[in-house]
Structure formats: C-alpha cells, structure tokens
C-alpha cells in the first residue's frame, strides 16, 4: 500500500486512541477543593482573559496564586488566552495541538531522519504515536505536553535536516512553553556549539554562532515582551517558574532522592540549601560525560543519545522533579525506537509504569492497561525487538555476556510490572505502610531508569570519535 495511506491510517489510529482516552474521566473530576489539572487549565484561561498582563504572575486580590497559580512561561499563558476565546470542548484543543504540532513532527522524523525500509518507517510512526505515557497524561490527566514536546521534536528534526537557526528557534519556543524543556537545553547547546567549533571558530563557525545567539535572544525577547518593561516582573515570573522553596521532592517520584529517602531520611538530615547544592552537583556530574562527548562529535546520533542522557540525568538527580517529567527523556527515547528497539521499548514501558499511582488517582486504570498492552504488542512485533538483541545490534562491544541475559530479564521485568500494577489495584496496603505500593512502583522504576541511564551513556561514550559507520546518515 502506498505510504501516504498507511501513514494516514496510523495517524487516524493514534487519534482514535487519544480521543477514546480523553472520554474517560479526567484529572480531578468532581474532587474539591483543588480539583485537578483540568481545573488548572480552565483557571488560567480565566486569569489570562480577564486580568491585564502584568498581573498574571502576581498574587493580587483577583489572582490567588495558591489556587493553581500560573507557573509556566509566557507562551502557555498566551495559549490559555487563545483557548479562552473559544470555550468549546477543551479536549478538542489538545487534539488540535497534537494534530498541528506533535504528529507532523513525528511523521517527518520517521520519514527523513530514520533508517530502514518504508514499512519500517511507517511502523516507527505507529509505535511513537502509541506511546502510552504521553497519551494518558495529555488526554487523561489533561495537559498540553504535546505542544512543548512537539516543538522540541521539530527542533530536533530541523537540526537533523541541517537548518540550525530554525532548529534553535523551534527549541526556544518549546522552552518558552514549558520550563522543563531546560532538561533538553544542554544537548541543544553542546550540539550547536560543537558544530560551530567543527566549522572553525575563525570563520563560518563564528558566523553560525552569532546567528544562533541572535535568534535565541530575539525569540526570548519576543516571548517575554510584555514583561520586559519592569525587572520586577521578570523576577516574579522566574520565581513562579522555579519554586526553590518547595524542597527536594514531592510525593513519590522514581528518582534518586526519593529512593534514597527510603534508606536514609535525607529530607530531614540535610538543610534545604545543602540539598540544593548536593542535587546540583550530582546532576552536573551525571551530564558532564555525555555533553563533552557531544561537543567533540556533533552528529545526529550523538545528539539523540545526549538528549536521552541529559534529560534522564536531570530527572534522576535534579531538584523538585515531578513524575510527569519522565516524558522529557521519553521523547528522545522514542526517537531511538528504530535503532535500539528493545532498550527503548523497555524504557518507555517503565516510564508509563512509573506514573501508575498518578493514573490510579485519575481513574485511568483501564486506559493504562489497554494502551500499555497495545504499545508492547505492536512495538515488539513490528520492530522485531528480540531479533535485534545481539551484541553488535545493542552496541555493547565491551560487555560480551550481557546480551544473552536480556530477553529473559525483559520478560521478568514486564511480568513484575504487571504484578505490581495488579497488586496496587486489587490489594489494600498494610496500615503501617500506607504508601507501600506507590513506593514499590517508584523504586522499581528507579532501578530501571538508573540501569538504562548507564546503558545509554555507555553506548554514547563508547562510540569511537572518528568512526566511518556504514549505516549512519551523513553527519551534518
């Protein structure tokens, strides 16, 4: 069948899955006093529509910041203003955003930047579109992650095609939509800087650097235009975006600090400032190897791996991380589905599993089960995941005996996830340990993330600097 019809069918299928999930109950439905993310979006529409710009981020009599205060950068605010004008069925807006931004980026990525036959590319589109985490959060929990992730993906695609200035523009827009995209910023920076170095700092490289810097500054200025008049405004917005007063972590999240807290109560032992410095140091140490490698060898393949490594390191070691931030590493891992199917599928499934407590709170159990099963089935079957388990395919040149253990461990892991999910739903936790199941879920996911972080780092760093890989696209 021709490509366009197959791709349309995949896109339609993805859209159907999204719409079906959205018809389920949404976050905070009928749960006073705070309701949920849906109420947050609705509140922001109200605030942006009714109040003047300079009051959006301030605590005033009209705008109580404790009730879902605006805590995303200006582009989110402008988007809420746009939505406020047409109070149609709000889920439509998420679908429209997906259709206009995220889905075209996925299709373009699969067709222009991934390798393999046409059939393989269509399969990649389908599998990326079926990733359960994004569907459940955007349509079940109700958020607009597809806009920021979609813009970031556009950035990757455009950079991959060689248009550096446009790529940086797309990424800056993405950053101005959600500040969590900072997790991706270091790889973008290192990649572009590395390219400038490669082209020689005394000539075209410098020119490129200047062009990119100017684009970034101008875009920032345009996005923050209404706030530039008053330094106090800028400070307040930054204060809302980065709430350093809120502590090392909140709730149960599958990162190092929460898991460490099980053994040593670091939240109580160390002071807030020490915690801040500690997490900052560990994060920097974790992202350093990958960033340096990317600086030295700015290719698309390294860029994708660096995106994974950087965002995953931030997730695991950073300050005040939410479980939904796992979507940030998940996006670049989706891009690796074609090249390293099994580790990618493993990570994506673990990421969905790590958000299980959130889904249970929102009443999304059935969509969670259905989309996870669908994703697993399609990705394992269509991408022939188990056939790419050899040493060579996994690019683990040094660790010879590991690959044979992998299929077995994968099955064990999936079974354990299914078992834990079932237990979380069916069994009641013992009275002394009311948070037992969310804790087990987050620790289990944490171990996966840590292991996969090591794996992806090894893959990125072990690659020789001057390789001539037959099956890699030309580095640009």
């Amino acid at each position: 069948m021709e490509n366009w019809s197959l791709v349309s069918i995949c896109v339609l299928f993805g859209l159907t899955a999204r719409w079906a999930v959205s018809l389920n109950s949404y976050s905070g439905a009928g749960k006073p006093p705070m309701f949920g993310d849906y109420e947050a979006q609705r509140h922001w529409q109200e605030v942006t529509y009714n109040l003047p710009v300079h009051e959006w981020y301030f605590n005033t009599t009209d705008n109580n910041l404790n009730y879902w205060g605006l805590d995303y950068p200006p582009l989110t605010a402008y988007h809420s203003l746009l939505c406020a004008h047409d109070h149609g069925f709000d889920f439509c807006w998420v679908l429209v955003a997906d259709l206009l931004i995220y889905i075209p980026a996925v299709v373009l990525y699969s067709f222009y930047l991934s390798e393999g036959s046409n059939k393989k590319k269509v399969c990649t589109v389908l599998c990326i579109l079926l990733y359960p985490g994004l569907i459940l959060i955007d349509y079940g929990h109700f958020q607009y992650n597809s806009i920021s992730l979609g813009l970031a993906l556009w950035g990757v695609v455009v950079l991959g095609l060689g248009w550096d200035v446009l790529g940086s523009l797309a990424f800056v827009l993405s950053l101005n939509y959600k500040q969590m995209e900072l997790y991706h910023s270091l790889p973008f920076f290192c990649y572009l800087l590395g390219k400038c170095f490669k082209q020689g700092l005394a000539g075209r490289g410098l020119f490129l650097l200047v062009k990119i810097a100017v684009t970034v500054l101008v875009t920032f200025a345009l996005c923050w235009l209404p706030f530039l008049s008053d330094p106090g405004q800028i400070l307040q917005v930054v204060h809302r975006l980065f709430p350093v007063g809120r502590g090392l972590f909140e709730d149960k999240v599958a990162n190092t600090w929460c898991s460490l807290n099980v053994l040593i109560k670091i939240k109580t032992i160390l002071s807030t400032d020490t915690q801040l410095y500690f997490s900052l140091t560990t994060t920097l140490l974790a992202i350093l190897p990958s960033s340096i490698k990317l600086l030295m060898k700015p290719t698309l393949w390294q860029f994708k791996l660096a995106l994974v490594n950087s965002s995953l390191a931030f997730f695991l070691f950073s300050f005040q991380v939410h479980e939904k931030s796992i979507l940030l590493p998940a996006l670049p891992v989706c891009l690796l589905l074609n090249d390293l199917p099994l580790p990618a599928i493993w990570f994506l499934q673990a990421s969905t599993f790590s958000m299980l407590p959130l889904f249970l709170k929102d009443g999304l159990l059935v969509p969670y089960v259905v989309t996870s099963l669908a994703f697993l089935f399609f990705s394992i079957y269509l991408l022939s995941a188990f056939e790419h388990c050899s040493e060579d395919k996994l690019r683990l040149g040094c660790l010879r005996h590991l690959p044979s253990l992998i299929p077995g461990s994968f099955y064990f892991s999936i079974t354990a996830m299914a078992g834990l999910s079932f237990m979380s739903v069916a069994l009641a936790p013992p009275d002394q340990l009311p948070d037992l199941f969310p804790l087990l879920v987050s620790v289990f996911s944490y171990l996966h993330f840590l292991g996969l972080l090591l794996y992806f780092n090894i893959v990125q760093i072990a690659e020789p600097l001057q390789s001539v890989r037959k099956n890699q696209k030309k580095s640009n």
Partner: protein, 520 residues
Amino acid sequence: LASVSLITALAVHCVVLLTMTVFSGYFSHSTDFEVHRNWLAITHSLPVSKWYHENTSEWTLDYPPLFAWFEYSLSHVAQHFDKEMLVVQNLIYTSPATILFQRLSVIVTDIVFIYAVKECCRSVREEKGSKDLLGHPFFILAALLLWNFGLLIVDHIHFQYNGFLFGILLLSVARHLQGRHLEGALLFTVLLNLKHIYLYIAPAYGIFLLRSYCFTKDNTDGSVRWSSFSPVRLVALGSIVISVGALSFGPFIAMGQLPQVLSRLFPFKRGLCHAYWAPNVWALYNMVDKALSVLGVRLKLLDVAKLPKASMTGGLVQEFQHSILPSVSPSITLICTLLSIMPAVLSIWCRPRGARGFLRCLVVCALGSFMFGWHVHEKAILMAILPFSILAVESREDAGIFLMLTTTGHYSLFPLLFTAAELPIKVLLMLLFTLYSFTSLKKLFRGSLLNPLETTYLLGLVAVEILCEVVYPLSPWQHTLPFVPLLVTSVYCSLGVSYSFIRLYVSLLRQHGTDKHKQL
C-alpha cells in the same frame, strides 16, 4: 503467512475493541443497553412461563426463545457483577459494574465472530503470485470483517450482540463454502432461533440446500436431474431444523404459549419506517409523497385541512398514512420483498453455481429485504455488507459494488451516534475503515474500482456530513425543522444503496446469462 496475517488483523481488532471499553467510563447510554439488561432480569428472576408475558418494561422480549436461553446463561455470570441489575423492577439501572459486565459480554461473545472470520479467510480463493502480508486477500478480508465500522459502532458503542450473531452467520457461510452443508444448515437454524430477522435470507438457504444438496447430481447442462434426489439428505436436513426448533420453541408449545410468543416476535403495530428512516425504497417513497403533497398545497391543488395530520418525519414510531401516493401495508412490503428476491432465488435453482452463487443470492436476499421490508432498521444493512465482503476480495466488479454499498451503508449509521463527544470517534473510525477498504482493494485489483460518477457521489457524503453536523445546527431552521438532517442523510444514502442493489442484481443476472450461453 495466512495465520500471521490473521493474527495481525486480530490484534488490531482486539486493540480497537479494548479501546472501546474505555467507553465504559463514559456513560454512552443507548436504549439497547436497557433492553438487554431487562432481558437478563426477566430470564433470571422469572419462571419460563412468564418470559413472554412480562411487560413491566416497555422493552419486552421480542427475540426467539434460544436467545432468551442465551440471556439466561449470561445472567448467571451477571449475578457475580451486580445482583441489582437482575431485578425486573430496576428500570434503567446503570451501575458501573452493570455496564462493565454488559460490555465485556459483547467482547467475549465476539470470539464466535473471530473464529468465523478465520474460517471464512480459509475459504477465500486467491490468485497466484507472492504478495506481502498486507496485500494478501486473506488479510484484507480479515481486516474488512474485524474492523468493520458498522459492527464496531453498533456492538460496542451502541449495544447489541451482532458480533456473536453475525459470527454464526459467517460460520455457516464458511461451512457451505467448504462443502460441509449439514453443519451450515445446523448453524443457520440455530441463528434463526436466536434472531428471527434472518428469516429474510432463509429462502436463499432453503432453495440452495434443496437444489444443491438434496439433488446430488446435475445434468450436463446444469439443470435439475430429478432422479438424483436423495431422500436421506432431505430427512437429515429436516431433522436438524425440527430438532433445533423443538429445543427452542418446545417448552413454549408445551405450555400453549405459541401464539403469545409469535405476537411478541412479529409486532406489526409499528410503522412502515423506523423513527429514523432506513435508507431504503420506502424512504424515497416517503420523500416523493411529502414533496408531492407540499407541491400540491403550493399549487392549490390540495386542501391542507384534508391531509392527514400525523407527521411521518417526527421522531416517533407511529402508524401513518401517506397523503398522495397509496399507503403501504405490511402485506404489500412482503410482496415487494418476495418479488425482489424471486429472480435471484430462481437463478440458483435453475443454474446453481455452487456455494459462491448461493452467497451472492444470500446477499441479494438480505439487500432486497432491506430495500422493501417493513419497519427496517438501518443496522440491517450489515446483514448484506458482512457476507458481501467475502465476494469483494475475490472479484473486481464485486469490489466496486462493495465500496459503494459499504460507504453509503456505514454513513447511514451516523445518526445513531448524535452526541458531540461521539462525533470525532465516528468520523475517525469511518475514515479509518473507508481509507483502508479503498486503498487495500485498489491495490489488490490494481486500478481504480469506481467510475467518476460514483466517486463524486461518495465525495458528496462529506458535503452532507458537514451540512448536517456543522452548518445546519447553526442555521435558524434547527428548531423548527429538526428532522431535516436525518431526512437528507436517509434519502441521500438510499440513492447509493439502491444503486448498489441494482448493480448487484445486474451482475447476478449477467452471470446467469453467460452460464446459459455456455450451454448453447
């Protein structure tokens, strides 16, 4: 390759099905839901003698006894989900457990459908030559059946057990295609006792079995060889029919309730057309009548006061009279139906073309009864579309007719889902199925299957949809004449369905003609 393709289609089917179950969170409440809940309650709580007398709810038991036994067995599982649903007095009872159980029961009974699809795929004739998985007729047929838009929305968004019933029908067809006629006959009799609407295609079965099974040999020119009549086979068939009938109706005959059961099964009090007109001949007839009466009033040829007041375009199921054209009674529709299927049935008597000729005749009977029947529901179009899928993957001409019939038939189901939340789902699913059917059949038969006129007509469906869903609700007539979108949909689709019917008949008679030519 065959099993792999089936498994793939099946997997997608299951995923779509399970995606539909997320609807269990969304209270998409159709009357069919309450109907079946009521029947579960009746069969579980009341003794057998009361089943066909019970009328606490308006949705009385109007399927044959075997279906009542089916509901009875389901009710034993239901009591573990929620005992309250089995109380007859609990009208419109919709606890989450009830909804979950009902939806799951449809999904589980779909296993019959899946098995039937597998058997049909085995019988498909294929051309030689290696094809990739997606282009294999096997896979295309599995996909066309498992992902059928009409079946999905009628069974899983609305609520019926059509998957189960059509599974039995397709299985019976598959058995005939495989030459296992006794099993096919048994399955059909069971089906008849589950839902008597299949009486419409009973002539095809009857004549086919009589002609091709009871007469074991034909003359060289294809005509009947009376000497080869086999009484043994006739007796075998007869005993199957009688024993199944006895199993299902037996208890009621013994209790002397047969007239009551029959009156429940065939309620002719309902009107010529369903609340929303099925896209058949009577829709066109009503339209013409209405148009003539309006014209007559405008031209002062008729007196407004003398016209019957009942509005057939209202949403209620009532008896009404036509104003200008003669009124239509149930017997007239019966005669029209019989006349319409007569040539097809005669052709398989005179020149039987084996099981495939029988299948074609079956589709013609189903479609003919849809076109001319009394109080036809638009869901009945599926009775023609599903078996026709088998023929569509084997012949180019059939594929063209199939695309026309299936697109219009499926579109005519749109008014069943009328809420704003269901709009994207029905549009997306329809697009999915239509896109798939067009591109896969086009690839299979290498080339365009529809002529420009047909393509324009089908594109017109998009215009009708936009008109009905977007433009009309924003216009001032929405409140005064709310039935107009339904009218437009129904009439527009009946054009397409009638056209397909005629083309199908022409192809059947042409085949009959070429057969005759061969003898000369």
